[in-house]
């Protein structure tokens, strides 16, 4: 007999079992829906946390201010040296003219300051380099490098000041908050994820426990292990598939409703926009988690009652 005939029979019995054991299927689907909802919640909250942390991180930088005498060549060679550091993500050059324009823009309502600036005659502002590190914890080593450069003389002698040390406390605190948030996020995700997976696994195990005599009969009439296990795994896959689809259907109105609130709370993160943009990934992860969890739970639960 062909493998295809066996596969068809196993799939048919799995589907029949899913439909006929309506109450058991309903319970398993409800529990798995909760599990997959937790998975979705962890994904979305993880993305919200990441977006918020990224936004905060982007607000942090180290700025190197040069003296007004510094030449463009000196600044460019310093920029190249800084860019060569592995910790550096991006270096932005702000020329003296740009700095002046920014200053004027910022104080455009302040006539007194602008008058004082005009009375000075020339441009009193030096050029600067805004340095952004890959991680906030790396600012200190960049600042140390700059300090060492400044002390060593040469082109670095034209550095007027490095603003890191003024911002150090704020940057350190932010680094700590980011690290702690990540750790708490991972811990919460692990605890919630493992708990709900165990609950779903046990629900399926109970569902199969009720069918242990059935499995015993299948053993005695000479059914192979995969022929016994197959329909239960198909039913498990159906629990996961149906639950996954329910979760995705519920997430649409829920994120739509939470969208504006989330944007106000997190700054720029809109939970509905994320849901729409990340839908293919969410769909794959939630449905695949459901199917995987259902199939694996059934496989393990049936194994207990299989004996040759």
């Amino acid at each position: 007999m062909s493998l295809w005939v066996n596969v068809k029979r196993v799939a048919r019995y799995g589907l029949i079992s899913f439909v006929r054991n309506g109450f058991v299927s309903l319970t398993a689907v409800l529990i798995m829906t909760i599990t997959l909802f937790v998975v979705a919640f962890l994904m979305i909250s993880g993305a919200a946390l990441d977006a918020t942390l990224k936004q905060l991180t982007e607000k942090v930088d180290v700025t190197v201010y040069f003296t007004t005498e510094a030449t463009e060549g000196e600044i460019t060679s310093m920029k190249t040296a800084i860019e060569a550091l592995p910790e550096v993500a991006v270096v932005t050059y702000i020329s003296r003219e740009e700095a002046l324009a920014v200053f004027r823009e910022r104080h455009k309502g302040d006539r007194l300051t602008l008058q004082a600036l005009d009375e000075l005659g020339g441009n009193p502002l030096g050029a600067s380099l805004e340095i952004r590190a890959k991680q906030t914890s790396q600012y200190e080593s960049i600042a140390t490098f700059l300090e060492a450069q400044q002390k060593s003389g040469g082109t670095a002698a034209s550095i007027d000041k490095v603003n890191f040390f003024q911002n150090k406390t704020a940057i350190d605190r932010l680094t700590n908050i980011i690290e702690t948030s990540r750790r708490i996020g991972i811990a919460v995700a692990l605890v919630l994820g493992i708990s709900t997976i165990l609950i779903a696994f046990n629900t399926i195990r109970l569902a199969i426990y009720t069918a242990r005599d059935e499995i015993g009969v299948m053993n005695i009439v000479g059914a192979g292990h995969w022929y016994v296990r197959g329909p239960f795994m198909v039913a498990g896959i159906l629990y996961g598939l149906v639950s996954g689809l329910i979760v995705l259907l519920l997430l649409y109105p829920l994120t739509l409703w939470l969208g504006p609130g989330s944007e106000r709370f997190f700054g720029s993160f809109n939970v509905f926009t994320y849901f729409i943009e990340a839908f293919p990934a969410l769909f794959l992860i939630i449905v695949a988690s459901g199917i995987g969890l259902g199939a694996l739970s059934s496989y393990l639960a049936v194994r207990r009652y299989l004996h040759t």
Binding site: M1, V5, A211, V217, M218, I220, G224, Y227, T308
Partner: protein, 226 residues
Amino acid sequence: MIYYDKVTKVYNNGVPAVEDITLNIDPGEFVSIVGHSGAGKTTLLKMLFAEVRPTEGTVYFGSREIQHLSGRELLALRRNIGTVFQDFRLIPTKTVYENIAFALEVAGKSEDDIAADVPHVLELVGLADKLWSFPSELSGGEQQRIAIARAIVNQPDVLIADEPTGNLDPVNAHDVVEILKKINDLGTTVFLATHNKAVVDSVGRRVVTMDQGRVVRDDKSGKYML
């Protein structure tokens, strides 16, 4: 055909369920194993399809030692042994048709063969009209007849019946025994365990009596005597 060679089975409690049993069953025989509860009848039957393995001794099916069969060989053996139990052991979520078809499917039969064989075997046990019923919709006697139909549909060499009338009234018990006799007349070896005197007496074939795990009598054409 079936040979128990000095077989002993000791469970975890340390008490031997069967002890030093030597028994030969020829093809086509109808053997009734009788004895009180706990005499070792079920253990003896379960060793034949390797649900229980002997602590000592060997059980042969033909020339093969059952406890040394590979997983695949054991499944093939089980398809060649029909089993009927006191509690029927039908699959509650399958219809009568599906319960019987399942035994044919695991034996690798095609859908066409299954569609032809299932009604035929149901006719043999007198339940041709119950094809699409679920076990819960049938009486005890009917369920046992379905279990017998499932056990014989693959035309096994041996039919094992462990207290098949234990949950039935005398009329249904009589019907079940008549079906077993008919199956035996068609050439299948029947191995029946029971403590029902009326059943054994009505069969009137070989009777093996067990007591405290040992064979105490073996009568070629015996009656129930304890």
